[in-house]
């Protein structure tokens, strides 16, 4: 009986070409993920109240950015590089008492009577012009968020030995198991309560 020969091999020489075609297609139509940014929450529109809550002038840290991208902080011109330090000093001052009359026992600021009473009362007010550049606005936002993060990290390190930003990133990561999230949540809330982010933005001036 005649032995049957092995089946002929399929020529795989053009496989590389096909793979290259696919590769080039994916290179052209896709982008490497770069999406990260500053998360902010907009205030809801509320009906105008007759008596807006009175906030003492010393508890407000005003930052104004004009159309030439210059900064005016507490009525003094300031460079962007000094803004973070100034905001930290203001928030961490703790010169008076909080909402329930308790002093700020974790503040390490100057305790000056001229500056904010308590981190829970301190408000940063940011106002910009309609002609301010978006890049400058983001830079200012970034510095102010950095000031909050710096203080929160300090307290988180003291209480839990970890950074607040790192804990928050773990909490927001969808891959974190629920048990770890439940453990992190009260810690995060406690830190957030110590330094609540009160960043108010006025509607830009039109001129």
């Amino acid at each position: 009986m005649a032995r049957r020969g092995a089946p002929p091999e399929v020529n795989a020489g053009s496989m590389a070409d096909i793979a290259f075609l696919l590769l080039i297609f994916f290179l052209v139509t896709t982008t490497i993920e770069t999406d990260a940014g500053l998360d902010r929450k907009l205030p809801p529109i509320e009906p105008p109240t007759e008596n807006p809550p009175v906030i003492k002038q010393k508890n407000i840290f005003t930052v104004v950015v004009n159309k030439n991208n210059d900064l005016l902080v507490e009525d003094e011109p300031m460079e962007l590089k000094n803004l973070r330090k100034a905001a930290v000093d203001f928030l961490d001052n703790g010169g008076g008492t909080g909402e329930k009359g308790e002093p700020c026992d974790y503040c390490q600021g100057a305790k000056s009577p001229e500056s904010s009473d308590h981190p829970s009362k301190a408000v940063i007010s940011l106002q910009n012009d309609r002609l301010t550049e978006y890049g400058t606005y983001i830079a200012v936002q970034n510095e102010l968020v950095a000031a909050y993060n710096e203080l929160r990290n300090r307290e988180a390190q003291r209480l839990y030995g970890r950074d607040f930003t790192e804990m928050n990133a773990t909490y927001l990561d969808p891959k974190t198991p629920d048990a770890a999230k439940d453990e992190l949540k009260p810690k995060l809330e406690r830190i957030q309560q110590m330094y609540p982010q009160k960043l108010s933005e006025a509607e830009p001036k039109s001129n």
């Binding site: 139509t29 500053l38 929450k41 550049e133 978006y134």
Partner: protein
């Protein structure tokens, strides 16, 4: 006496290309996994500002994108050089933002509709007036969670 066979000239052995497909497939899979599909082509200049206090954006299906910036040179003779908003491949007016976000929200799955983030991808030379108008529109329809998409870098890079 030993017999010498003279080698023929130019008889180089061919380099085997049998593993070339494997290498190319490896590259292909690498790019397929680390990249994401571009969903709209940009018609505007979109040089994002820098920031370092950033948080990673949520999964792609929970994000609504709004682009703004100057039209790119090829569209400038038609649309001018003033900063414009781009929604899904089209230039749009501020008044269209609300409807767009509501339509996008309605098209998502129900359990995602409450956790949506609006990502603002705005060119760093845009004036804040336009951005404030967008923010005001978003407030009107209660889309309060926003993200200013930025590049990684220190904020001082924004000031040239």
């Amino acid at each position: 006496m030993a017999k010498f066979t003279k080698k023929k000239k130019g008889d180089l052995p061919a380099v085997s290309t049998a593993s070339l497909p494997d290498i190319v497939f490896m590259l292909l899979f690498f790019f397929m996994t680390v990249t994401t599909m571009k969903d709209s082509s940009l018609m505007i200049k979109n040089e994002l500002p820098y920031a370092d206090q950033v948080q990673k954006l949520d999964k792609k299906d929970r994000v609504i994108y709004i682009y703004a910036g100057k039209p790119s040179p090829r569209y400038q003779d038609k649309f001018g050089t003033a900063a414009k908003i781009q929604l899904n491949d089209k230039f749009a007016d501020v008044s269209e933002v609300a409807n767009y976000v509501l339509a996008e929200r309605a098209s998502k799955r129900e359990e995602l509709q409450n956790v949506l983030t609006t990502a603002l991808k705005v060119d760093n030379e845009t004036n804040m007036g336009l951005v404030s108008d967008i923010k005001q529109e978003l407030r009107k329809i209660n889309a309060l969670k926003i993200n200013y998409t930025t590049k990684n870098g220190t904020s001082f890079q924004n000031l040239k």
